[in-house]
């Protein structure tokens, strides 16, 4: 055998292996931390033979990634339901869902309808509900009696012991606590601007009280664990995680109402493996699979009957934080109209730069 034939054979083998790898089906999932636990991914791969590539992300990052490629690079994304239509109008990064391919019987009807209303455009539906939760307040020990609403984070009693994010939920939360209804003003730019001005003044005033603006979940948990921060605006799941470690830390729904969000499944416009995407949606809506996601992420899913399989302490922590009144009081995010986020961005920048 000459050197050349040996080389050609080797090249042939490499080529065969390479095409084999390409032919194996793949699902590229753009999602949040905890929404695709290893065990769930393994079971899906075993049942379908489809290889799942998970990329962890957040709302802004998802939009940025998909915008950069015009909706390519991923087969399934999980943006929040309020961040779909405005983004779709501006960047055209999603495609409408074929609802006949989704087993809607597995999804809670109320949430399904709410998401249909907020993600429909030009006769197409762009999102189905997946995971939901709220943001509110996490308070530790002595701060519990002081901080019962967002604006209480600016009280003297917790000066220097406070943290929140410099992002849009903080603006919305403060607006509600100051007696405004920002969601009602979404479609009226002048009115919304006026509300934002009030919130901006309050947040600049409050800056002296803040230890630091947190940006990642782990950073916030570390601040609360060490006691450096005793009151923070944060997600319910983080609060329940801390409560399990230290019972004196609790997640509380603020008096003006917790802010409710629903993360969805949405199809990127240039998704390559749409079949696998639908298979994944139907797979994770099975009650026992959905419960695994809840156990991992701390957040509840839109799947019917999953509660029965959820860890008991998680269910208890949920009941401590939400009585019926607090549940009814949740302010659900409506879709964000285009242009609003640019307005909010300027306010956030001004707060960041203020002294």
């Amino acid at each position: 055998m000459t050197a050349f034939t040996r080389f050609a054979l080797a090249a042939g083998v490499v080529a065969t292996v390479a095409t084999g790898a390409v032919q194996a089906e793949e699902l590229r999932l753009l999602t949040w931390g905890g929404y695709a636990p290893d065990a769930v991914v393994a079971q899906f791969e075993k049942e379908t033979g489809i290889d799942v590539q998970v990329t962890l992300s957040n709302n802004e990052d998802m939009i940025s990634k998909l915008r950069a490629t015009g909706g390519a690079g991923f087969d399934l994304a999980q943006p929040s339901q309020d961040r779909i239509i405005g983004v779709q109008r501006q960047f055209n990064i999603y495609q409408p869902l074929d609802m006949s391919r989704i087993d809607t019987g597995l999804i809670q009807t109320s949430m399904l309808n709410a998401t249909r209303e907020s993600t429909s455009m030009n006769g197409g539906q762009y999102g189905v509900p997946a995971v939901w939760g709220t943001s509110g307040l996490i308070v530790a020990g002595p701060a519990a009696n002081v901080v019962t609403d967002y604006t209480d984070l600016c009280a003297d009693a917790v000066a220097g012991r406070v943290s929140y994010r410099l992002k849009r939920p903080t603006l919305i939360g403060f607006a509600f606590a100051m007696g405004e209804d920002p969601f009602a003003a979404y479609d009226n730019e002048g009115e919304y601007r006026a509300i934002l001005e009030k919130v901006e003044a309050a947040l600049i005033e409050c800056k002296a009280n803040v230890k630091t603006y947190w940006s990642g979940g782990d950073e916030l948990l570390a601040l609360l664990r060490t006691g450096e921060v005793t009151a923070a605006m944060a997600w319910d799941a983080g609060g329940w995680t801390l409560h399990a470690e230290n019972p004196s830390i609790n997640f509380v729904a603020p008096e003006s109402g917790a802010l409710g969000w629903i993360d969805t499944f949405a199809l990127p416009r240039r998704a390559e493996n749409v079949d696998a995407a639908y298979q994944w949606i139907n797979f994770v809506n099975r009650p026992e699979i959905a419960a695994q996601i809840t156990n991992q992420s701390g957040n509840f899913t839109a799947a019917v009957g999953a509660d029965a399989f959820v860890r008991a302490e998680l269910r208890d922590a949920y009941r401590v934080s939400f009585n019926q009144e607090a549940l009814d009081n949740i302010n659900w995010y409506p879709p964000v109209p285009p242009g609003l986020e640019a307005l909010e961005g300027q306010v956030l920048d001004r707060i960041q730069a203020a002294n």
Partner: protein, 286 residues
């Protein structure tokens, strides 16, 4: 024949460099320049204009943050020079043999870890529940925990630490070439430490000082992690605003305009620095 072969090999050798410059440096910047003049209304409608640039001057927080970033970067550069110069002098002139190599290595070792790890290292030391705070309490010097993090001093400490190597290396290289006899002659002629430093050492080391300062200044101006993580709520830094525009607000147009402005303004500052110190780029880099 031979000459064509020579030309060809030169061309082949240059290809990676040219590709790198064109694909990774020139093209993205041209693209950024183009985007910065776009005004977006919707995904299928575009307009041209200078809105993004006028935003920079109209909204005071943009240029205030830029000035703040520039001033703090200059301060960091000056501090790095003051701290780095004695170190470089010791390595170049006083240390001998193995000690020299070891000292150089000591400067280099922190850079085996990423900037993120180094910054978190500082955060572990400086935070309220961190080492410094607990040591001070154990010594009885303070009553309660002390917060060292989340202020401008912490940011500068982190930046100086990150930049030190880039100041020390060019300084050692230039100081190495300084003839010891010149220093001795200075003392023989009746000069004191200050005279020798001012009239012999600094003029000789000027190219190294300027190139070190340029590298450190640009590095500091463009750093992102250290100011963001260690500055906390008062961390406003210009690169952070660019990042925010691109990633958090999907406002590529504004982010691109800010990026172009950063490039132009920092180049202007470097040019001004070169003019003021009477150096030119060729001498500094050569």
């Amino acid at each position: 024949m031979n000459r064509t072969a020579g030309k060809l090999s030169l061309l082949l050798l240059l290809t990676p460099f040219v590709l790198w410059i064109v694909l990774l440096v020139l093209l993205p910047h041209v693209q950024m320049l183009r985007i910065s003049f776009q005004v977006r209304e919707s995904w299928d409608s575009l307009d041209w204009g200078v809105t993004q640039y006028s935003n920079f001057f109209a909204e005071s927080y943009y240029w205030r943050t830029f000035i703040r970033t520039g001033v703090m970067s200059l301060l960091t550069t000056a501090l790095t020079l003051v701290i780095g110069f004695p170190i470089a002098w010791y390595i170049a002139k006083l240390a001998r043999g193995r000690a020299r190599g070891l000292l150089f290595l000591a400067c280099l070792i922190p850079f085996w870890a990423s900037e993120l790890v180094r910054t978190y290292g500082w955060m572990i030391l400086l935070r309220e529940s961190g080492l410094f705070s607990s040591w001070l309490q154990a010594l009885g010097w303070v009553d309660g925990p002390v917060e060292f993090l989340y202020n401008d001093v912490a940011v500068i400490v982190g930046l100086v630490y990150n930049a030190l190597l880039f100041m020390v290396v060019p300084l050692v290289t230039t100081l190495d070439g300084l003839d010891d006899n010149l220093v001795e002659a200075g003392y023989d002629l009746g000069g004191n430490h200050w005279h020798v430093l001012r009239d012999i050492v600094v003029p000789w080391a000027m190219p190294g000082i300027v190139s070190g300062c340029i590298v450190v200044f640009m590095l500091t101006l463009g750093s992102y992690l250290t100011p963001t993580l260690m500055g906390g709520k008062d961390s406003a830094w210009f690169t952070q605003q660019i990042f925010t525009q691109f990633i958090t607000r999907f406002n590529w147009e504004q982010g691109a305009a800010l990026g172009v402005l950063l490039l132009v303004l920092s180049s202007l500052l470097v040019w001004l620095g070169l003019r003021l110190t009477g150096q030119n780029l060729r001498k500094v880099l050569g």
